[in-house]
């Protein structure tokens, strides 16, 4: 429900019907537009023979309540998971992370050597400069779309 209404609000805004947008927005619970501020969304490119890429994000939660990312998908990849690189017994390994929770006003970095998106099996060959969309599924059931830049 929320997602459908939010899409309708967006469409109304885009097509220049702000009053309709406002009316539709009243249908939503007060926190439904809780969106994360995401910057530096980038994917480190690798040659075509390698079917994995790491994605990095800088996330800030401007809301008064905590926001969780529970899953991520993208039409550009067969799967996207949240992983963390960890040092264990002198070896680096990766462990999956179920969800990311960002506290009110807090920031979280997905950066080289730590938390990152494990993006597997690109549907098409990726090239530096490409913009690829990912969709974050948030803990309240809503979704947030964003573009990630493929970097060399």
């Amino acid at each position: 429900m929320n997602i459908a209404v939010k899409e309708a609000v967006r469409t109304a805004v885009k097509t220049g019907m702000p009053r309709l947008a406002l009316l539709l927005a009243l249908l939503l619970p007060f926190n439904a537009f809780a969106e994360l501020d995401i910057t530096q969304a980038r994917i480190k490119n690798l040659p075509p023979s390698v079917p994995v890429r790491a994605g990095y994000l800088s996330i800030h939660n401007p809301a008064q309540f905590s926001v969780s990312i529970v899953s991520i998908r993208s039409e550009a990849f067969a799967s996207v998971e949240i992983h963390r690189s960890v040092m264990k017994d002198g070896m680096m390994s990766m462990e999956p992370v179920d969800r990311l929770t960002i506290e009110p006003g807090a920031s979280l970095q997905l950066a080289p050597g730590g938390l990152h998106l494990m993006m597997m099996h690109p549907v098409e060959a990726t090239r530096p400069g490409d913009d690829l969309e990912i969709i974050l599924q948030l803990g309240d059931g809503s979704e947030q779309r964003l573009m990630m830049k493929v970097i060399k």
Partner: protein, 208 residues
Amino acid sequence: MNRSSIVIVALIALIGGFGLSWYAHDSKPVELESGLWFGEQARALPEFELIDHNGQPLTRNSMMGQWSLLFFGFTHCPDICPISLQALADMHKAIDDADVSDAVQIYFVSVDPERDTPEVLAEYVHYFNPTFSGATAPLEALTPLTRSLGIAHAIRNKTEASSDYDVEHSAAIVLINPQAEYAGLFGAPHDPLAMARDMTRIVERHPL
């Protein structure tokens, strides 16, 4: 001063001078900013035979007469391996002295031989720098080398149904000297500029 005392003084000076230069050249430890220099503790590599990215053998003998930096990883590693290879590429670029960069050969050694064929390795290492080499070997040939270097690695969660599995590996970069001895170690996270200064210091102190 008579002639024989002049000869003796000259001889002492000569011997002293040789001694000093020998001391400066070989015994004085190279202080590293970003790693460990083993100095006199450098130890010979065991004999090994890997296959390089051209399908050619890479042996202990291949490491003679050059400085070698070895990073052990696998291509299906999205985070740590690209960061480390990028750090090595940035280090290579940051070395101003061409005599130094030409004296250092960088190797990416895959501990995932099943997926990392020479063709895959060639494409992978050259993505970072066209002078980099890739190598791998079946685990039974690879493990004696990695064990002698203290580089741990293990394949995790491998099933017959899926080609997606994780490989745990040490993130350290190993330094081999021109006598094919294990001479030093750079721990992660890698600082490319500090490594460039370290490699310059090492190669200039011990020219080929």
